[in-house]
Amino acid sequence: MFASFMTTAWVTATIVAVIAGVVGYFVVLRGSAFPAHAIPKGAFAGAAGASLLGVSTLAGLAVFSLLGALGIGALGRRGRNDVATALTLVMMLALGAAFLSRTSQYEPEIYSLLFGEILGVATSQILPVAAMGIACLAAVAVIYRPLLLSSVVPEVAEARGIRSRRIEITFLIIVALATAMTVPVVGALLMFSLMIGPPAAARSLTSRPALAMVLSVLIALATVWTAIAASYLYNWPVGFFVGALGALSYGVGRAWAAWRHARTRPATAPHPRPAAGSA
């Protein structure tokens, strides 16, 4: 499990988990789960386009995830972008289907781009992933305050002169960046699971932003590491374990929050649910 060919997998997975934990925290806070699903999934079409044109997969992913972020930002109206997200997503996927119909060599790659091939990451991929990861974290650090404020109390942020639309687009671009670097590693669909489950669990454990972000990263790390180990041992896809553990951590977080709620306010909830107590 710790043989030299596995080192690359462990390192990239660790980078991916840190990014997913941090960016995912804001995804959950802002209620942007749909864009966080749509951008990676739509970016997958960019990989098909890149394969058609013969350019690098990473370039195709980067271009399409940026297009997706800008499309959602441009079509969406203030504070509401679910219709815009859905239409941007289907348009990108439709382009992907058109690209796929023009090339035949691409088919085996579909599964790994959707669901990830973490055990097949090349050593040369570590550096670009790490560089884009640092760019991502730096961008979050730069807009941390206004991003947090506009996520939690958008009205106050507006009153303070923060342009929530500009913040929204910047945040979508950060998601796009995180996507482009992680899709070849964990797959378009699993990046989403990793950006939802651990941060959601962290949020139900604490309401302090900095602590929640740290917890979110830790849970994401635990999820990815366990998933790789389990995948290595049982020879099932990494994606299954990431998805299952993500949902499980959310469930445990919710149960713990319910249990704490019941304990601190015994008068209103005299019978704590047994499920909550055992968790």
């Binding site: 679910d82 859905a86 239409l87 996927l93 959707l114 949902a247």
Partner: protein
């Protein structure tokens, strides 16, 4: 005249049994999707509508593996997913977003496993692509009856709770005060949505399923101010886009020299996307903005909860 027709419709367009089957099933799915879609857009549940497509696709992969009929897998897991979303999702918008995301994440993990097991057992080559993208041209003949009957059930369920559902959509508080069971109505709608989306992703693939659910409804809601008219308009836009897309895909075989057509899902989505963009043009909108697609505060923007409530009696 004849030459124009011959140029518009590629040789053998009307004679092709494949085209006729695709046009029929496409129209049925477009109508069912348009009716559920109008409420989906108004309730701000586009994410749920899309996610249920992926959830039901996981069911499709499972059915493939277990040797069950695809309809059972798609609709069965779709309904289960909708129920879980309702169970863990609170009524707030953000909680709903998260509940949808968690269920979707788990379903994606499940389909990763099922597709992996399916492809390694060797029984399903190309299953990933088929389930992800589907094709309206490869629908088995028997599916159209299952789609029609279950689609009719979904529409009937929505029609049965039309007034309370509308009120609960536009103003949940007022609906609750009027004695509408908001939670139950919402659950019923989610189940109808699950059936509709499960069927459409089975019949025409996940991409077209979301496109036909959201696109025509969103365009129609920007063009008209009454819900009933929006439903009719969405049906018209959906069916027209589907047929136009099929025609374009068919004709594209004769464009260029490659003899390789464009996929039908691309053509239909492109038409729907164009229709949505066109509906946002300044001249296309009614004087006041169309029906708001904002569930919580739709009241102030076109449709009045009082009129809905008044008609409810």
């Amino acid at each position: 005249m004849h030459q124009i027709l011959a140029a518009v419709f590629g040789p053998g367009f009307f004679a092709s049994a494949q085209v006729r089957a695709a046009a029929a099933i496409g129209a049925v799915v477009a109508v069912v999707s348009a009716v559920t879609g109008v409420f989906t857009v108004m309730r701000g549940q586009s994410f749920g509508g899309h996610a249920l497509g992926d959830v039901s696709a996981a069911g499709g992969a499972g059915a493939l593996l277990a040797g069950l009929s695809p309809v059972t897998g798609f609709v069965g897991l779709g309904i289960a997913g909708a129920a879980v979303m309702d169970l863990i999702g609170v009524q707030r918008l953000r909680g709903r977003d998260l509940a949808t995301g968690v269920v979707l994440g788990a379903a994606i993990g499940l389909s990763a496993l099922l597709l992996f097991l399916g492809t390694t057992s060797g029984s399903a080559t190309g299953a990933t692509q088929q389930i992800m993208f589907g094709s309206i041209f490869t629908v088995p003949a028997g599916t159209i009856w299952a789609v029609t009957i279950l689609g009719a059930i979904a529409i009937a369920a929505i029609t049965a709770v039309y007034r309370p559902l509308l009120l609960a959509t536009v103003s949940p508080d007022l609906a609750a005060a009027r004695g509408v069971r908001v939670r139950l109505t919402g659950l019923l709608f989610m189940l109808a949505l699950a059936v509709s989306v499960g069927l459409s992703s089975l019949a025409i693939g996940a991409i077209l399923s979301t496109a036909l659910l959201i696109g025509p409804a969103a365009a129609a809601l920007r063009l008209t101010r009454t819900v009933a008219r929006a439903v009719v308009l969405a049906c018209v836009i959906g069916v027209a886009a589907t047929w136009l897309g099929i025609l374009l895909a068919y004709d594209s075989y004769y464009w260029g020299s490659g003899q390789r057509g464009l996929p039908v899902s691309f053509c239909v989505v492109a038409v729907i996307f164009a229709a949505y963009l066109a509906s946002g043009l300044p001249g296309a909108r009614p004087a006041r903005r169309g029906l708001a697609a904002r569930p919580a505060t739709a009241a102030g923007r076109g449709i009045s909860p009082m009129t809905v409530a008044g008609k409810e009696r």
